[in-house]
Symmetry: C2
Subunit: 421 residues, 2 copies
Amino acid sequence: MTDARIKADYILETPMDPARAAAILAGEQSSGTFMAVPGETEALKARSAARVERLEDLGPVPAAALPGGAGADRPHRRVALSLSWPLGNTGTSLPNILATVAGNLFELSCVAGLRMTALRVPPELVTASPGPAFGAPGTRRLTEVQGRPLIGTIVKPSIGLTAEETAALVDTLCTAGIDFIKDDELQADGAVCPFDDRVRAVMRVINSHAGRTGRKVMYAFNLTGEVDEMRRRHDLVLAEGGTCVMASANSVGLTGMLALRRHAVLPIHLHRNGWGYLSRHPSLGFDYTAWSVLWRLAGADHMHVNGIRNKFCESDASVIASARGLLTPLSAEQPALAMPVFSSGQSAGQVHDTWAALGTSDLIFAAGGGIMAHPDGPAAGVRSLQDAWAAAMGGMSLQAASKDSPALAAALRTFGSGAGG
Amino acid sequence: MTDARIKADYILETPMDPARAAAILAGEQSSGTFMAVPGETEALKARSAARVERLEDLGPVPAAALPGGAGADRPHRRVALSLSWPLGNTGTSLPNILATVAGNLFELSCVAGLRMTALRVPPELVTASPGPAFGAPGTRRLTEVQGRPLIGTIVKPSIGLTAEETAALVDTLCTAGIDFIKDDELQADGAVCPFDDRVRAVMRVINSHAGRTGRKVMYAFNLTGEVDEMRRRHDLVLAEGGTCVMASANSVGLTGMLALRRHAVLPIHLHRNGWGYLSRHPSLGFDYTAWSVLWRLAGADHMHVNGIRNKFCESDASVIASARGLLTPLSAEQPALAMPVFSSGQSAGQVHDTWAALGTSDLIFAAGGGIMAHPDGPAAGVRSLQDAWAAAMGGMSLQAASKDSPALAAALRTFGSGAGG
């Protein structure tokens, strides 16, 4: 039995003595309960109890962020708390690790705010987990895109196109020089656009372009569903020559994701829809850098991070922290890096800031309107993004680069520094 | 193709004209996007667009409940919003229905608060879903408990006991006359208490008692894990004569749950740990009555609802609303009722209020300290709960009933009207 431990960091808000609240959290999530029970011996605690590893007072907060707790009218404090658990409690089972680090503790009445900010896992766990099979290197190998991000887009309207209409749009996008296309998360296997029909129609187009250009566009087919459906759909994508599948994390759960990963021989593009209910209140839920660790261990190759100056409510700082998190190794031997996927209102105007913040091009940069609504057409839309990335990576300003690139100049006139759809 | 629709109700808070915000939500979760796209024809919208079914102004709110939205300094209003989607968008796929009714919409910048309060599903969906195979009738058949709730408990300490120590505790509880025992959600397959060892040791005890009494105690073994693990563990429980398995909803996801349900021939006890991060802020996430619909459709037989005067932060009104929700049919033909599981600080003192609020005994009433810490021992603890339920259901007060029941009288002296561990 290993003595390795899993560590989680939280920001806790409480009206209670923080040390006592921390002890309650540690007890509730391991060998303790509301009252002392006969079997909780010192030997048992030594082998199974969670430990408070760190407790730092971050000062008072004006009020209870979340209602329902005890002592709501008392002064509250915010503390940085780290807990650790023996790996022996859960083994290397990711679903059970989630129940341990983020189970019943959010509802404790001493908790007036609780947010997980980091999840630090021992190398034993990384080694035992499947992890991403492709990541950026494998995705680059399949798409033959080197030295720049993959330029991607999302099929829109999200839902309602038939398989043939989707394929026609894919034809336009392939002609425009796109690297990556994905289904919307709303599009899986509906009556108007059944999964199998869509795969066959889209791959006919993609394979035809690949025959002409020698380079195959990667299409992430949303196969979210039951385990047997996902396996069968994966095999259909593979049989038709496709190179990527997509699943919705919060729909399939860690167990569904692991079942897909164990079966898949294609990259898994993981969509985070529903992330808002896990994160939107700053004193509840998860930071993405913490939550995403479990999905990277489970095998996500691509993970969404929103984008700079996006159309949602997320700040640029949060977007960049998420992307940096995905690019931070989980262990020296097995970094388990996932490729960040930028999207939401992206166009050439956000490229320089994205590059400046990350310093890597190991990402997917997806634009909708930034490509399809480019005044000179989708090919100019793709070109504008490629030229913006070449400029950013070459140390040239957007203004300077746009002198040599009419596509980039038109993109900047049309979309400015943000927006684009 | 059916014209059935899925309907979801939300409480939305927004600084925007509510009708415009509602249209944005409906568009984002179906055929629309941030800007008009060429393919979004009237025909496409007619077959695939979400509809705003109801919009009722509930008045002003003092401030934005969630940060990051647009217009945070403008006046906000709260509205009751109902959206509907054609079943054709998702088919009867529960994971994809979740992505549709609770996907990207929580992050929209026009949203300063969004909580799903109801999910109303068409009969076609209920019929196509597996639903609970056992529910209360099947659970009663297996446990031979009629006319009163199952009296249950949770193995404590939650984690750290060996398989043999767990079995010894189960022996005590069986001797005490318990109906139902469950693993803690932290206990799945750790190094100290491997799943297989625990099943074998516990079932040896339970089978031995059943041989003596003719009645088999139901033990919910927590088999949370990967799909193949869960299937194999289920089969072991079955082979050893066990009658229930347990899984953590947020760990296995809907896809994992469905995989278990498709395989299982035993009741599935569904644990909601993590429910706090989905629900603790009143302007974010889900009401339990809405969220639990998907899990009932997926096949949960038992679902946790906390308990009256519990040790967590949830109000009694919320607990009772959750239990009533589980007992409300999803369709006339297939009610898909899940058995509510009451727990957390329960003892004889909460029985009358629970009965008064629900008017049914089709539930599991679980107590920890209320049984194990009873001053006259666990058998008296079980007896006190049985006697309290008999009194409540027979229209007799606790005080009156305790005159004929020393166990009940002692429970009331020790635990009062709440608490108990």
